[in-house]
Symmetry: C2
Subunit: 423 residues, 2 copies
């Protein structure tokens, strides 16, 4: 193992989660144990901030702030959706890559950890290839993050356990509510959850069902095209049996023509953007219009991916462990890998971390296996439940002040810039 | 004090809350201490179930189930929106009242507790007047319940503290999320909360703001007509200052013409109902269309009023105490009152219960005082904060199973019917 002495940089990318900061805490706390790591920097707003040389000194933060990141949702370092895109914008991408290595070299960055989803792992992969090409001795490890749970090769993704825990609890509570009103005021409630192309999040709400009659009664995932006739028949049948029906719909559910049901392409605003609609509203209009059932909608939106107040302790531990494992791998001389979660066994659930080449990860989306969904397409089956149940175990201990969450914020002391501004 | 020996009936009415069952627990646990109370019955689905002689034996439930009602959201007995309406349907109302007293007499009901909001207190009031008129010796006490917090004479309503606690936590978490995405992906998130005519619930999210720059940046309440121009200017100013803007909107916000902004009257479905829209979607289209800002919506809907997983312990205690106080008042010979919450002092918060004549309560709506809202109408001020803050203190201890809430359900052993079916 080569001794590589230098500075460490960690950054966050893509949509935030309730536990993405726990991975930062894992990186910082583990890095503090290794003498080869000199400074521990954070890049603000992902790759975008690094291009702008916006680095902060994470060693300057109080230890309790770093620990507090484990209960603070969203990206404490800021995040971005910026992509170094060699395919669509090759000139800009080449320029960005040059600038990135100027920043790395100016600050002697020898360890880089990028916490994110598919796009971010792709970015990490390209940076790793460039480092080799440019002979800049550097170790790059990706840390998985996405509520969407659509990264390949990892058993699941940090962030997923928390989002399905919160969403499943919400389904249980809404079901109590709608069920208790059903006799006089029924009858249908449609809950829209995230997941543009993969149905993992919607599927996760099946955990709310402890007995066959429990909600959710119908779960619609983007992997299966919506058959409106069959859907309406199923709603009708459910209301006849239970007097009410709770439907969960992934925001990206599509019709047979492959069009997202939540997008109204005919209705454009002043800038020519399609007017925001939403899958739940679309289905509510359908149910209300065709079955004349009182129908209400819930759209959890960003609330679900930020819900630290009901996050999974298992998820927090795994997210922190992924950050720590990334540092350990780098110290071990590894580069060009993503940390993955490996399930050792169910019952009792045991897990560990592993490594997978970034080349295997980048831009591959992992969908729900068809055999984990019931034949009629309306519910995930026991194979999925067995998979998902351990991920929601335990509850994050959330400090409060006056009855409300007490989150931490980083001081963000800036690292002195050494380069001219990005052109 | 007259010794009145007989049976007790408790029922729930109107929209459920996270703590309405705690009031049932309070009634049952207190009633158990009094020897004059023979049987303790629950009426299913409010007044509607009582008309149908659908009574259950609450003394037959396990003690731990009754205690578990304190952490179980929504109406465990079922609820209804059915109204005995002497104004609009005098014949039906007279018939209903006759039937009601047939049920009371058949089951020797001498104590009746109705847990609900404005309409329900009106019903309790009418039943009390009828009991006097019919010389049926009976004691009727209303127990307050409504997330809307719009009952008069009570300092606040059980259910309100929990809904604003959950909503404020959600605003804090969504603000972390939107704020961390703002640089690259901003910029505006609009959160729709309940409250058709009063703005208490929307106002309660101000508790999320610990320093002036914190979200929510704008709170729109139904009491103040929306000025779109001023609203858009405020959003623009906020995004310029903080790079993002979190807006909370009460579902019943109206424009200057007094029309709800969330209702699209031009767009009717097959049954002639206006297509469901929503205040948040309307505002998102406005912000997106006029300011070209990326705008996302969250619509908490039923999730907010059922959110036992983040309910206020203070609220639970007060709801249970209101149930117990109702029984104590009835044992004390009182009838025709609603229990109210009385604030003894802030800092430290102390409260007690009192009684108010049902005649003073029925059909009066209590709105936000104008002097509790900032001059520009966009935020509740420190007077409101002082009022609301104690109500969210403490967190309900929620038992879990496999990481998800463990709610109780009543066995609902039916009381044998003694009457012919309702005609």
């Amino acid at each position: 193992m080569a001794e590589l002495v230098g500075n460490l940089l960690v950054a966050q990318s893509g949509g935030p989660t309730a536990v993405i900061n726990a991975s930062v805490a894992g990186v910082v706390q583990e890095a503090g144990k290794h003498e080869f790591v000199e400074e521990i920097y954070g890049g603000l707003n992902g790759i975008l901030g690094i291009l702008n040389e916006e680095l902060i000194d994470l060693n300057d933060e109080r230890a309790k702030t770093i620990e507090g990141l484990k209960h603070t949702p969203a990206a404490a370092l800021g995040t971005c959706r910026y992509k170094i895109d060699f395919k669509k914008k090759p000139e800009q991408a080449a320029k960005d890559m040059d600038r990135l290595f100027e920043v790395f070299q100016a600050h002697n960055i020898r360890y880089f950890f990028y916490i994110g989803g598919n796009d971010s792992q792709d970015t990490a992969h390209k940076i790793n290839e460039e480092a080799v090409k440019r002979a800049w001795d550097m170790r790059i490890i990706g840390v998985p993050k996405t509520i969407d749970n659509d990264l390949p090769h990892t058993d699941h993704c940090p962030g997923f356990g928390s989002v399905i825990k919160y969403n499943a609890a919400t389904v249980m509570e809404v079901a109590c509510d709608v069920g208790s009103m059903a006799t006089d005021d029924g009858a249908c409630c449609i809950i829209e959850v995230m997941g543009r192309s993969a149905g993992w999040i919607a599927a996760g709400t099946i955990l709310a069902r402890r007995k066959p009659s429990d909600a959710p009664h119908i779960i619609l995932v983007p992997e299966i095209a919506l058959n409106e006739t069959a859907f309406l028949a199923k709603v009708k049948e459910t209301v006849e049996a239970h007097k009410f029906c709770v439907v969960v719909v992934g925001e990206g559910v599509k019709n047979a023509a492959g069009e997202e049901i939540g997008v109204d392409k005919k209705n454009l605003d002043a800038f020519g953007h399609p007017v925001l609609g939403g899958a739940a509203e679309h289905l509510a209009e359908l149910v209300h219009g065709k079955l004349n059932l009182k129908t209400r909608t819930v759209k959890l939106g960003y609330a679900q991916r930020a819900a630290a107040h009901f996050a999974s302790e298992t998820d927090v531990e795994e997210a922190a462990a992924c950050g720590a494992a990334a540092v350990k791998a780098a110290m071990d001389g590894k580069s060009g890998f993503m940390v993955k979660l490996v399930r050792v066994q169910n019952n009792p659930y045991q897990w560990t971390t592993g490594l997978q080449s970034l080349a295997d990860i980048a831009n591959v989306e992992h969908f729900m296996p068809r055999e984990w969904i019931s034949e009629d397409g309306f519910t995930p089956n026991e194979l999925f439940v067995e998979y998902a149940l351990p991920l929601v175990a335990g509850q994050l201990k959330l400090p409060t002040e006056n009855g409300l969450p007490k989150f931490v914020t980083l001081d963000k002391n800036p690292v002195e810039k050494k380069l001219p501004a990005r052109s």
